[in-house]
Structures are given as structure tokens and as C-alpha cells.
Amino acid sequence: MQTILNIVIWVVLALHLIMILVAAWRTWRSENSAARLVGLDVASTLTTAVLILVGIIGNNSLFLDVAIVTTALGYLATVTIAKFISDQRVF
């Protein structure tokens, strides 16, 4: 059962990496900055998922702490950029 789980985890990790590249390509091709911001939000969610999967593979719970921090920073950055898009200033 352990080997099947390992295979599943590696396949899931590969899928997530492909999804990050696809989201980055679509962000590159999008028409305005709000759509690009959505792309960045998707990319940050997917990188958190990759972090967690690496944590499962390495059997090390440190990655979960890193995932918490990256999620928080990702959301903070997204909200700041959204504020900049709407009002052309941040503070």
C-alpha cells in the first residue's frame, strides 16, 4: 500500500507543477492586470499545495509551517496589489 501511496503522491506533485506552469502561461497571456492578479493568486495557492506535497514526501512537518507563512504572505500581497489596481496607490 505504501508504494501505491508514493506513486500517487509523485503523480499529484507532477500534476501540480504542470498546473503552476499552465497558470503562469495564462497569466502571461491575460489582457489586463486584474486577470494577471488572479493568475498570481492561483499560482500562490498551487505553490502552497506543492510545498505540502513535498512535506508529505519528505515526511517532515516543517513544510506545513512554511506553507502557513507562504499562504499568509501570498494573500497579503494579493490584497495589496488589488488595492493598487483599484486606487493607483497603496496607502
Binding site: H16, A34, V38, T45, I52, N59, S61
Partner: protein
């Protein structure tokens, strides 16, 4: 007990990945910002939540980290999606498709040139 954990974790992993896939496909295919936010705001976040559930089941000793992150993601993600949508609307991003704009009278909109 061990294999039961792994079977449940496997199912959750596959489900989470499927949801993230749906979120990314929604992000690619949908016409404008607001519809894309539907896909990414809800679906790819739930993909993450299922992944975190799988982690919490696989490593029960540090399950509280997974639960904490699930709680934080479910708390913060709708707010972030809302901020993107309102920023895009205020900046004047056009709506795709048949227009039914409830917010038109209440909120003044910038012209699209500065986006």
C-alpha cells in the same frame, strides 16, 4: 489502521488534485476576471483544503498544523477573492457576456485605460 489511513489519504489527494485541476481549467477557459474568480476563488482553494486533510490524516501527530492552515485558508480566501473583484470593478474592467450589472448605479467606475 495504517492502510486505512493511507487509503483515505490517497482518495483525498486525488480529490484535491482534481479540484485544483478544475480551478486551473476554469482560470484558463473563462472569459473575464469576474468569472475566473469563481473558479480560482472557490475550487482551487478547496483543492488545497482536501490536500491539507490528507496531510493531517497521514501525519496525525502534527495534524493541528494542517487544521490550522485549513481554518486560515477558508477564512482568508473569500476575502482575497472579493478584494480582487472589487478592485477590478473599480478599475473599470469590462464585464464579459450579457451585462446584468447591479452595482452600476451605486459605485462610480474608473475608465479602463488605467488598468
Amino acid at each position: 489502521m495504517e492502510t486505512l489511513q493511507q487509503v483515505i489519504a490517497m482518495i483525498l489527494l486525488v480529490l484535491g488534485t482534481f479540484l485544483s485541476l478544475v480551478g486551473v481549467i476554469g482560470f484558463i477557459r473563462l472569459p473575464d476576471v469576474y468569472t475566473r474568480l469563481h473558479a480560482t476563488g472557490k475550487v482551487s482553494v478547496f483543492g488545497l483544503v482536501f490536500l491539507l486533510l490528507a496531510v493531517s490524516i497521514l501525519t496525525p501527530l502534527t495534524a493541528w498544523k494542517g487544521i490550522l492552515l485549513i481554518f486560515f485558508v477558508l477564512l482568508a480566501s473569500p476575502a482575497v477573492s472579493h478584494s480582487i473583484a472589487s478592485a477590478a470593478y473599480k478599475a473599470g474592467v469590462p464585464l464579459a457576456g450579457p451585462k446584468r450589472d447591479d452595482l452600476k448605479s451605486k459605485l462610480e467606475r474608473g475608465s479602463d485605460k488605467d488598468v
